[in-house]
């Protein structure tokens, strides 16, 4: 049935994370926006020690499944999106391991996130200077060294979120996309788990950014970086017919480019939820502040009296809620095991754009106060914009949606 009623578990989790957002994150938002690249120790420690296990809830009661994960992401990004991205978790690297790794790999790489005595991070390294939206253009290579049964990675990855923590702190790891054979195009692209501090992996820079400054966006260089063959994510496939190329048939993991791309179907609703969280931070603050200034916002004002402010706020609310519901729908399909590639991209495209506009509008409506560094409204505008860019830009998600609704392949609609 159609219902917008969260389960008790979700309600409880929402309240729990909201309190964390307001009490643990907001007070240090400005500090770590200004101290770009500094580790937000108090937050990292708090999360590792008090929040890592997740919100208290009934294991037996009904769950909103993946929708609850979205609610959690929304609440934490309502707190601070940059600190959310700096949380010590396996993050997108973990999603990749969970989605495409073997049981042994999942155990080996994810256990430390439960058992490590100090905070650790996971990350995913895909983008390169000349391979942004066009992941298939990846130039980082993985060459198999049969002598040592190792893969040698060579290349440079940019825009790797949490890449400092994941590459530098013992126990974490970076999932690196690399091609084992450029002639195979997408088919040659595989993911490799590179544990933190592996020789040959170097952190060469951290991006200075418009927003989410507390998040460590790293440039990582791989120079003859060796990882054991067992770090190629997925099971080495069964021997195939002779017509297969040897490199594809004998060395590749069983979930290559397509498998990796499929993790976007899970990550895009989360990014959408994160965007919604930032948007809500702005919108809630705006409404509260207007209230403090004696501006009531009516849903039933006489047409000739409706103020521009009122109409803007109604519009922002409608847009935010549309984005949130599209997000929940994509997540709900995920929970039910339904293919949600279309809906995930719809949610991401809508949320990225809507929240970009909502946070920009909030700055506008608050006048010089909104533009000032005294409030966080200007920061939320800067933070929000990333959601329109990463995990597939607005344009890439529109492209995916267009292909789906038109039933066009990627060669028919480019």
């Amino acid at each position: 049935m159609i219902s917008f009623d969260p389960t008790d578990n979700s309600v409880q989790a929402r309240a729990w994370y909201r309190r964390m957002a307001l009490e643990q994150m907001r007070p240090i938002s400005r500090k770590y926006d200004e101290q770009e690249h500094a580790l937000p120790v108090e937050w990292v420690d708090y999360y590792w020690n008090h929040a890592r296990a997740g919100a208290p809830g009934s294991a037996t009661g009904p769950s909103d499944g993946f929708v609850q994960v979205c609610i959690q992401a929304e609440e934490l990004c309502f707190g601070d999106a940059a600190l959310y991205l700096r949380m010590p978790t396996a993050a997108l690297g973990g999603s990749a391991v969970a989605a495409t790794g073997t049981p042994e790999q999942r155990e080996r790489f994810l256990r430390p996130f439960r058992e490590s005595t100090h905070p650790i991070w996971g990350a995913m390294a895909i983008t390169e200077a000349n391979a942004g939206s066009d992941s298939a253009a990846i130039q980082t290579t993985a060459r198999f060294d049969a002598a040592t049964d190792e893969w040698l990675l060579n290349g440079t990855k940019i825009f790797c979120t949490a890449g400092e923590g994941a590459s530098q702190v013992e126990g974490g790891f970076v999932v690196v996309w690399a091609t084992i054979d450029k002639s195979l195009g997408r088919g040659g692209i595989k993911s490799f788990v590179v544990p933190a501090k592996t020789p040959g992996m170097r952190l060469v820079g951290l991006e200075k950014k418009l927003g989410i400054r507390a998040s460590d966006t790293a440039t990582l260089v791989f120079e003859d970086c060796r990882v054991p063959s067992g770090n190629l994510l997925g099971r080495p496939p069964k021997p195939k017919s002779e017509s297969e190329t040897p490199s594809e048939g004998t060395r590749g993991g069983d979930k290559g480019f397509k498998g990796a791309m499929a993790t976007f179907d899970a990550s895009r609703p989360i990014v959408a939820a994160m965007a919604v969280g930032v948007g809500r931070a702005s919108l809630d603050f705006l409404i509260e502040e207007l209230g403090r200034q004696g501006v009531a916002l009516r849903f039933d004002a006489p047409p000739r009296e409706v103020t521009a402010l009122e109409r803007d706020v109604i519009d922002m609310q409608a847009e935010l809620q549309a984005a949130r519901l599209l997000t929940w729908r994509a997540a709900s399909m995920m929970t039910r095991g339904k293919p949600n590639n279309l809906e995930a991209s719809m949610a991401k495209a809508k949320a990225g754009l809507a929240v970009t506009k909502i946070t920009q509008k909030a700055v506008e409506l608050l006048g010089p106060v909104g533009y000032s560094k005294k409030l966080l409204v200007e920061k939320w505008m800067r933070d929000a914009k990333i959601n329109d860019i990463y995990e597939g830009t607005q344009q890439i998600n529109q492209l995916i949606v267009a292909r789906r609704i038109l039933e066009y392949s990627s060669s028919q609609l480019r």
């Binding site: 219902s3 047409p303 929940w328 729908r329």
Partner: protein, 362 residues
Amino acid sequence: MIEFEPTEEQTLIVDTVREFAASELRPLARESDESAKTPSELLARAHELGLVANSLPEEFGGGGSRSALTGALVAEELAFGDLALALAVLAPSLLALPVADFGTAAQKAALLPELIANASCAGTLALVEPRFDSDAYRPRTRARRDAGGWVLDGAKCLVPWLFGVRHVLVLASAGESLAGFIVPSDAAGLKVTPEAYMGVRALPLVELGLDGVRVPGDARLGGETSPDLRALVARGRVGLAALGVGVARAAFELARDYAKQRQAFGAPIATKQAIAFKLADMAIEIDGARLLAWEAAWKLDRGEDATREAALAIHQVRRVALEVADGAVQVFGGHGYVREYLPELLLRNARGFACFEALTLV
């Protein structure tokens, strides 16, 4: 639990209505618009289907399964067929639902059996007023007490007036509250003038002049309980939002299919990003607007105040329906501008949501 799947029963109803819209509404859309007439057989067939009666109380012959959410699902499917005909088909609910929700026992007994049994539309509702700032919550049409009854003065427009209307529920300001009065269609002082609009031309609409129209005290909907009918506005907006989603979906699907088939510069125009991305945006906006309408309907079904949710849903739908219909005209190019194709009709209809209030109810 947060879920987005209609129940099996709803799915069944949706399938039936979709079929009905495809076979009975869509084929008549153009012709009814050109002739500005609702085919009377259509109303009879809709009555057979029990679309309205299904929501009304069992004791008066209805189906007893009232749900705003189901109503929204039905409305979208009908409007996907054709908006004007959808409004016509659903028009019997304009009097029946308020009477069922707010009426006194006597009012229910007097009106519901006829409204349920009768294939023609015996009742209607008058809310909108003929001025730029028609205000759903504060009509200028006023009701004042007089000699135990009420006297109504004012003007209404956009009142659906299908063949057979015998009563009109006139919404008026009674002091500070929004009150409804059941007025016979032949009441003295009531002047009925047919109107024409840019869109929904197949739906007969009238302007009502109310010049000292006297009704007895028990003509007030709900009688002595003096209910405030503000909730009706939300019910109207949710219904309209769902209809608007249906119009937008119709425009989107026409545009999508046309874009895949129409060739220019050696390829289907859908292979151009400018067209493809426009279609993608349409799809996204339609789905977002639908979910807002569903949430508002769901809230109504829980018996909660849905003023806010309904306002958000109709706000979004007003924009989305217009943009999508306009986009469909654009995708069709010159063919979108001629009445041989449907996009121009959808554009005219879509623009109506800017001023529609309570032209349908859920």
